[in-house]
Structures are given as structure tokens and as C-alpha cells.
Symmetry: none
Subunit: 122 residues, 2 copies
């Protein structure tokens, strides 16, 4: 599963369903590893490695408290995802016709593609 260095970014981190579920659990509240593990049909070690990946992406942060390591959500890196997504929103939002007249009067090739998607049926 690796672990070394800066290898994992937020896109990779959320690609795995188990890790997304871990994030959801930590969104509710901070939890120690063993408590997180209890929600999955796999070993604590496996979950610990998932937490490492999430930690490299800085989506979670764990602190030692006594013999437990308590993880909490750190959602900030998701802003990168949001910004990435925002670029693509125009490609589906216009289908709600807000930009429809702009698209139809444009000579722009890219926007013509969008326009043809609306009428076409090839």
C-alpha cells in the first residue's frame, strides 16, 4: 500500500470507497483507529494504511492520546477538488438553458459542441 512521502493527493485519496467511508465516519466525529475499524469487514492494519493515505493527502490528522491514536477530519484539501470541479460545471449547467442563448449565438467551436449535444441525436 506504500506510505512513503508525498505520494498521495486528494484525487487518489478519495478514489477508494473504503477511504470515502472513513471520511464520512470522521465527518460525524473524531475516532480512534479501532473504532473506525469496527465499521469495516477488514483488519485494523488495513484501515491504518488507509488512514495513512488519507493523512498524506492531509484529509485527516491523527494525534496520539494515551494508547489510542485519534483521527479527525481535515476537509481543507477538498477545496482543490471543488475548484477542479467548478471548471466543468459550465458544461452541464448550461443544459438548464441559462446560457442557452449565448451558446446558440456563439461561433466558438467548443460551445458549438455543447450546442449540438442539446439538439443532436445522431
Amino acid at each position: 500500500m506504500s506510505s512513503s512521502a508525498q505520494k498521495h493527493d486528494v484525487f487518489q485519496a478519495i478514489a477508494d470507497p473504503t477511504r470515502r467511508e472513513v471520511l464520512r465516519l470522521l465527518a460525524e466525529k473524531e475516532r480512534p483507529i479501532s473504532e473506525i475499524t469496527a465499521h469495516f469487514p477488514m483488519s485494523r492494519t488495513a484501515i491504518a494504511k488507509h488512514l495513512q493515505v488519507l493523512s498524506e493527502a492531509e484529509l485527516v490528522h491523527g494525534i496520539k492520546v494515551g494508547r489510542e491514536k485519534i483521527y479527525r477530519l481535515q476537509p481543507e484539501p477538498l477545496t482543490e477538488l471543488k475548484q477542479w470541479l467548478s471548471f466543468y460545471e459550465k458544461f452541464w449547467e448550461n443544459k438548464l438553458s441559462i446560457l442557452k442563448h449565448i451558446v446558440e449565438s456563439s461561433e466558438d467551436q467548443r460551445l458549438q459542441v455543447i450546442k449540438s449535444e442539446q439538439t443532436d441525436k445522431n
Copy 2:
């Protein structure tokens, strides 16, 4: 690289930087495989497989035109990502107002992009 069936979802599809760049290229305009390949330091076969993954996630769609296969962006599955993200927004929005402003200004930029597209190519 696999290919069989419904194996790839949108989260996995966008996890790879090459595939994100492919999406960006297709956001500009539809393109045949060879044209996409020209933007990368890898073989056409590799790009073709990336396109398969994107196709399984229904983020792109390719049609045969003559001897070319022309791919175009299909952004709809990204709404799933947006929905997933929206759940986490409340965890940072009232927490870091500076980041909030950055995100908002990037939305402004998106609108400016659309606006400039109307005149850019003419």
C-alpha cells in the same frame, strides 16, 4: 489496465493525472485519439486505455468517424462528485473565510471564461 464491465466509477476515473488532463483537452473540443496522444509523452495505446477507463465512467464518449474515433466530453457523471463534495462543504465554509473567498473568486473566473469564449476565437 483492465477494461471489463462496470469496474470504473467517476472517483477512480479522475484519480489519474493523465486522465484529468485528457478531460481538460476534451473540454476544449472533441478530438480523435491520435490528437489527444500528441499532448502526452506516452504511446497511443496507453491513451486509448485511459479513454476506455473514462468511457466506463461515462465521462467521455467516442464515435467512429471514418478511420478515426472521435471522443467528446460527457460531464454529467461529475454531478455525482459534486454531490459528494457538497456534503463536506459545511466542514470548511464557516471555518476558513479566506479559503471561502478564493473559492468564490474562482467561480467568478469561471463566468469570465465563458464570457471570453464568446469573443476569443473571433
